[in-house]
Amino acid sequence: MTTMTPPAPTRAPARVPLLRRLGTVLLAHPIVRTLGPFVPFLLIWWAVAATGSVNAAFFAGPGEVWQSFTELVRKGMMPSYLGDSLERLAYGVGFGLLIGLPLGFVVALSSWARRLTWPLLLFFQAIADIAWLPILIVWFGFSLTSVTFVIVYTVVFPLMLGIVAGVDQVPRELVNAARSLGAGRLRVFFEVIVPGSLPAVASGVRTGLGYGWRALIAAEIIVGTSGIGFMMFDARRAGEVSQVFLGMIVLGVLWYALDALILAPFERATVERWGLVRQMEAAR
């Protein structure tokens, strides 16, 4: 078996200083930095497929995956499944934020609400969201409602827990400072508590989205009417390996885009700009 060593892009041409400098500049470019590691990965994938050493029933090369991609786009299935998945995610996250944000601040700020709901929050967070699917199916059947409900559920709890953690982290002195500068309760809330807790809230949203995303895929597989998750599982039953691979890539790219285009800029614009607590960036 011939294993091709992918040309490591870090190895800049050594002889010509100018070229090396060009290489360094190129490597520092964000697009190269982001996409760079995928190049060797693609090459290895392609090489493994090209050798034909892996049973085609279990494995598809980049060429086949690309083919099934164009085919699915042409037939219109890809856009429609993608649209379904994104719509569900948007509904779920939208409702999740709508419910989770106000509730989170109430629980964080009222000591009575906190006492009465904190253990319940921990418990409901602990019931893995997917576990709700069977009872939801009993209630709503195999429908969009069931899927949306699960996503809302997965978003709300990490968000609420994040808000409580965030509010608890706001330095007492900042509240005192605001009050002795004449701020009333409402002003303290909007000018101090909300921005002060934002880093933790952002990380709660991120965690929630990460879970919601997975819940969506699972729900689509189980409920099975449409969407990328459904497409993958359907393909697996039909033995269309390339479509399973394709589904995974689409999911990965989609999450990456969501993260890079929406979540990361939001965090940069607030948290980093303010030089606030930059907590250890955890992968979620």
Partner: protein, 261 residues
């Protein structure tokens, strides 16, 4: 009438572990007149911060009165501006946003707010930094901002708890000099807590010396040094040395962090 009056103030903390009460302030009485700069000195842990926090309205007292212009205080309010040792600036607001915060709370229109802010930033030497965020400033600049934020609000009394304690010695000298100049220009009423005897004497019209916990007022010293004051001239004044020696003796052998000029 005095601007700030503290009458027979007492404070007991309750230990949450054991439930017993710890007397922090035995009985403290003193007052600060309009436009007067008063420092409070005392051994570590004697309750200076506690007195200041009570005046600021951050914590309750056990007995006694705190009056501002004859009215007793309840909770924090814009009539008592606090400069914190740790600055307590809002990290999500720019320099301008921090300075104008109090005026916004009062409902002062934008144009006026920004004019007042420009004046104050000029006064504390922060002109040109309006659009920066606090984390982009040095420690000394952050404390100037903390000062500006309170000055612009024109409180009845300014409360400062060791505002220069976490700043390096050189910058501290500079800030003390600047604070004196600002004080001499604007004549706010100031209640200043410190560990540093030289600082207290240099800045103040009067120095209140507290005893160890539970604290009482051990002595109140009138600092009769001419204004305007500068470090260079003041340290050469023999009376300055007399005051600091006297207080050192009063506090029992001098504080390790009190610096000789």
């Amino acid at each position: 009438m005095n601007t700030l009056e503290i009458n027979n103030l007492r404070k007991e903390y309750v230990d949450h572990y054991t439930g017993e009460t710890i007397p922090a302030i035995g009985e403290v009485t003193f007052s600060i007149g309009e436009g007067e700069f008063v420092s409070v000195l005392g051994p570590s842990g004697c309750g200076k911060t506690t007195v200041l926090n009570i005046v600021a309205g951050f914590i309750d007292h056990t007995a006694g009165d705190v009056l501002v212009h004859g009215k007793s205080v309840h909770g924090p309010g814009p009539d008592r501006g606090v400069v914190f040792q740790s600055h307590a600036l809002f990290p999500w607001k720019t320099v301008l946003g921090n300075v104008t915060f109090g005026l916004r709370m009062k409902g002062v229109p934008r144009v006026e707010r920004e004019r007042a802010a420009a004046d104050i930033l000029e006064l504390v030497g922060l002109s040109g930094f309006e659009r920066k965020y606090p984390h982009e400033l040095s420690g000394g600049m952050q404390q100037r901002l903390g000062l500006a934020r309170v000055l612009v609000n024109e409180p009845e009394v300014m409360l400062m708890d060791e505002p220069f304690a976490s700043i390096d010695a050189q910058t501290r000298r500079k800030l003390q000099q600047d604070l004196t100049e600002i004080f001499e220009k604007r004549r706010p009423t100031v209640f200043f807590v410190t560990h540093d005897i030289d600082e207290a004497v240099f800045l103040s019209d009067r120095v209140v010396v507290l005893s160890a916990r539970p604290s009482t007022v051990a002595e109140i010293i009138d600092v009769d040094l001419p204004r305007p004051r500068t470090w260079r001239e003041t340290v050469e004044d023999p009376r300055f040395r007399e005051y600091t020696h006297h207080i050192e003796e009063r506090l029992g052998g001098g504080e390790p962090d009190a610096q000789a000029g």
